[in-house]
């Protein structure tokens, strides 16, 4: 008995296992849906926020030159490029940019975190970090903490809703009243949050360098140092004014 097996497809049809589905990359969806694309979004939006923080910090330090100087600076921000553009135009544009950055940063973070969750459906019984677990613990929970703080911070010092000086006050009044020694706990929350921001940036800034592909063996030390230094400067710059107020150095 000879089976007729056609030359060409000589494989006998017996027991050939069903070919497993091979995942193929999505045809379109593009850069922003890729995990790397989302990381780039995080890096770029992070850079926007860091730039904002630097300016914000420099502004805050004006409090040491007196209430007038601080209020003038706040006013200047709102009247930038006037009369070429109406009142608060530039600041609004900057604020929109900032809000968009925050939203995108959070969107990318949540989406990457969900992706990570899906990538490990069964957790380990025992898991021990070998890279001291810093980033793992600081970044996501740190991010959530910072987001909550920013809400409080806006209600307190921007809108004055929870500020003793109220909304119709000058920025300097809100700042100095807000960190009054009697409200020491506000200062404490602020200190904790700023330190958290510092820790977030220590990894985040370096991580952005890595994501944007700038890190390499020769530069790594310098980039890590840059990230660390930037974080320290920001933490100190943000902590000095409120502490000075709470301890009565600035009145």
């Amino acid at each position: 008995m000879t089976a007729t097996i056609e030359r060409g497809s000589a494989t006998a049809p017996v027991n050939t296992p069903a070919s497993k589905k091979t995942p193929t990359p999505k045809k379109q969806g593009g850069f922003l849906t890729s995990s790397n694309g989302k990381k780039v979004v995080m890096a770029v939006t992070g850079a926007v926020m860091v730039s904002f923080l630097v300016l914000h910090m420099l502004g805050n330090l004006k409090i040491f030159f007196g209430r007038e100087s601080f209020n003038e600076y706040a006013h200047w921000l709102r009247t930038l490029l006037e009369p070429f553009v109406p009142y608060r135009t530039v600041l609004t544009i900057l604020e929109i940019g900032l809000v968009v950055s925050v939203v995108l940063h959070m969107w990318a973070a949540i989406s990457l975190s969900r992706r990570a969750g899906k990538a490990r459906p069964v957790k380990y019984v025992a898991k021990k970090s070998q890279a001291n677990g810093y980033a793992t613990h600081i970044m996501r929970w740190g991010g959530v903490t910072i987001a909550l703080f920013v809400i409080w911070h806006l209600l307190d010092l921007t809108f004055g809703v929870v500020n003793p000086a109220g909304y119709n006050s000058s920025p300097a009044d809100r700042m100095i009243d807000g960190f009054d020694p009697s409200r020491w706990w506000v200062t404490l929350v602020y200190v904790v949050a700023v330190v958290m921001v510092g820790l977030h940036l220590r990894h985040g800034v370096w991580s952005a360098f890595q994501t944007l592909g700038w890190a390499n063996k020769d530069r790594n030390k310098a980039l890590r140092a840059t990230a660390g230094l930037l974080s320290i400067v920001l933490v100190l710059g943000f902590l000095v004014p409120p502490l000075a107020i709470t301890f009565g150095v600035v009145k």
Partner: protein, 640 residues
């Protein structure tokens, strides 16, 4: 064990004429397959090491429809990956007097005049193309500051022809072949079957037409048919249980092909590598090789006195015996592998061995560290030193390494002709699985060369000639069914025994027996003892083996049992081959055949031939293939 002698093999299909022109001549005479027909032709390649991986990739590139099989979870795991030292090529980039002819000469001589001249010459010719191919693929060979490739002298060669990638040359070359293979998988020309083990060859109408495999995850028995079958399943060193081979390496594919009619050539030629980390205990599961390159700077010694249990550092210079330097003043620590191994065995037999059980010799870097500085030594051998420390817990910068010979490579394998075709038409055998190029002893850095020469350059040409001469008609369904039933029966039999000993315990016992009786030194007495003992042990195996689990699942015990069963049959043939070959040559040392200094003594009058064994249920049939040397004059090897 009874055997009979059959007719001599006279034609190996090597072209005649000047040796430099033979391969050219063969390539030109090979028929070509029309490109449009290539994709209608199916080729099965079993094994994905340097030979199998490069062959499957190249056949895919040529347009054939290829099916590739490996027992590992990925083709990248094949044991070629563990080769450390390097790959020889007659590039003569150093201008140090190397040439194709010299590589050819060294290989024939190194093989102790038991390899075919035509094959070896072709190997040397093709060697230069391999380096070009690998570099183009992005294999990161070591380079000099000028950007050109670095080479080193290796394994006793007096020219610098060994290209290397730190101590991981095999890995880098294999990844090159693996990547080429995956490229073809993506292109659709190669269909990859991982975690599949070949369990039989389908021979229809006298031709190899397919294989029976077991899906190691589901246990399903599958049939795969083709127009030609290529075996690239590596060596059988694991017959000794302890060897430098990967745990999964086995003889099943080639042995079952042998049972289907492929001759097995020179099974007794086994290479024992001199620089391995010694055994530390009964539970030992494998031996780890330390690259031979260590012998470039390390000095081998043992204490002068017997049973000297002082720490090595306490033994003064004049109480050390640097025995390789003493016995072989011109080659010293760089004598070929077989010689270095036997010398180590001899000093240990004298009771001068070091470490647990006295089975070890020192490989000392003290002088090298003093001469070159610790940094230079670390730069050269750092990763090897780390590996040694990881395994033994001893730091070789402070304490000399302990080394001992271990089974490393098998020069024997399925008999093939010049076209790498076995005695079953349509069955091609490449790489370590065949016997062709190394004679009785393989030189260092030549295994990678042979595997890639076969896979990238030789087989793709010669198999084309075979396929162009087709078509070979339909496959006999009965032959397929018979092979499948045979496989299923064997599996059922193994599961049915349900005895009291594990497959590993049998394997360990067989291995010890082979090491003691058919290892570095063989005598008529030891071999007869082995030939008596092996059938008894095999009998016990089939009466008393315990295989847990079922056939329809991932069952590593069942896999192991099947492999051990075949090792028994192979071991018997190895001992018989060793018994019949009463001379010493290369890796085969018969104590009865040595000169006054204890060196291997060949008997060219009676044994200048390949022993090709044909399988027969009534006992093996020996076919001799006479070896003729037109270019290299047969001399007694001397490394003194």
């Amino acid at each position: 064990m009874k055997y009979t002698e059959g007719p001599e093999i006279r034609d190996t299909k090597a072209p005649s004429g000047p040796i430099e022109d033979r391969w050219e001549k063969r390539k030109f005479s090979a028929k070509l397959v029309n490109p449009a027909n290539k994709r209608k032709l199916n080729v099965i390649v079993v094994g994905t090491g340097l030979a199998g991986g490069s062959a499957a990739a190249t056949l895919g590139e040529l347009g054939y429809n290829v099916k590739s099989f490996c027992y590992q979870d990925s083709p990248r795991r094949a044991h070629s990956i563990a080769a450390q030292g390097g790959i020889n090529a007659a590039k003569n980039y150093r201008g140090d007097g190397d040439s194709i002819y010299r590589l050819f000469y060294d290989t024939v001589k190194g093989g102790d005049f038991r390899a075919r001249e035509s094959n070896v010459y072709r190997l040397a010719q093709v060697s230069v193309n391999i380096i070009d191919q690998a570099v183009a693929q992005g294999v990161p060979f070591a380079r000099e500051y000028g950007g050109l490739l670095d080479t080193r002298s290796f394994g006793g060669a007096q020219v610098s022809r060994t290209f290397y990638a730190r101590g991981q040359t095999g890995q880098q070359l294999l990844l090159g072949a693996y990547q080429a293979l995956e490229r073809q998988v993506a292109a659709g020309t190669v269909e990859m079957h991982t975690r599949h083990e070949m369990l039989d060859l389908i021979v229809s109408d006298g031709r190899a037409r397919g294989i029976i495999v077991r899906d190691m995850v589901t246990g399903e028995i599958e049939r795969h048919l083709a127009d030609a079958v290529v075996l690239a399943t590596g060596g059988y060193g694991n017959v000794f249980f302890l060897s430098t081979n990967a745990k999964g390496c086995n003889t099943t594919a080639i042995w079952r092909a042998h049972e289907r009619g492929a001759y097995f050539a020179n099974p007794c030629y086994t290479q024992i590598h001199p620089t391995c980390i010694p055994v530390s205990g009964e539970y030992q599961s494998k031996l780890t090789l330390m690259s031979e390159s260590l012998r470039n700077d390390g000095r081998v010694w043992v204490p002068l006195r017997k049973n000297d249990d002082r720490a090595p550092g306490d033994i003064p210079e004049d109480e050390r015996d640097y025995y390789l330097e003493r016995i072989y003043p011109s080659f010293g620590n760089l004598v070929p592998r077989d010689i270095a191994s036997r010398a180590a065995k001899n000093v240990c037999d004298e009771g001068r061995g070091v470490g647990p059980g006295g089975l070890g010799v020192y490989l000392d870097f003290r002088d090298a560290i003093n001469r070159l500085g610790r940094d230079a030594v670390e730069k050269k051998y750092g990763n090897l030193f780390e590996m040694y420390e990881r395994i033994t817990g001893e730091n070789p910068y402070d304490v000399p390494m302990r080394i001992y010979p271990a089974v490393h490579y098998t020069m024997g394998g399925l008999w093939v002709d010049y076209d790498l075709q076995s005695t079953i038409p349509g069955l091609f055998v490449i790489g370590e699985a065949n016997f062709s190029d190394h004679g009785a002893n393989r030189l260092g850095a030549s295994a990678l060369m042979q595997g890639l020469a076969d896979g990238y350059f030789v087989l793709p040409t010669t198999i084309g000639d075979y396929l162009a001469n087709g078509p070979y008609g339909d496959v006999d369904e009965e032959a397929v069914a018979e092979a499948e039933i045979k496989v299923r029966t064997k599996i059922d039999r193994l599961l049915a025994v349900n005895g009291t000993r594990t497959p590993d315990s049998f394997h360990r016992e067989l291995g010890k027996l082979m090491w003691d009786y058919c290892g570095m030194e063989r005598t008529e007495e030891s071999l007869r003892k082995a030939l008596e003992r092996i059938p008894e042990l095999r009998e016990e195996f089939w009466q008393n083996v315990k295989v847990s689990g079922t056939a329809e699942e991932l069952n590593q015990v069942l896999e192991k049992a099947g492999r051990v069963a075949d090792f028994f049959d192979l071991a018997e043939l190895m001992c018989l081959d060793a018994l019949v070959r009463t001379e010493s040559c290369g890796g085969h040392f018969r104590a009865e055949s040595q000169d006054a200094d204890g060196e291997a003594l060949r008997d060219d009058e009676n044994f200048a031939h390949v022993s090709a064994w044909e399988y027969s249920p009534d006992g093996p049939i020996l076919h001799k293939e006479p070896l003729e040397y037109e270019y290299v004059k047969m001399t007694q090897r001397s490394y003194k």
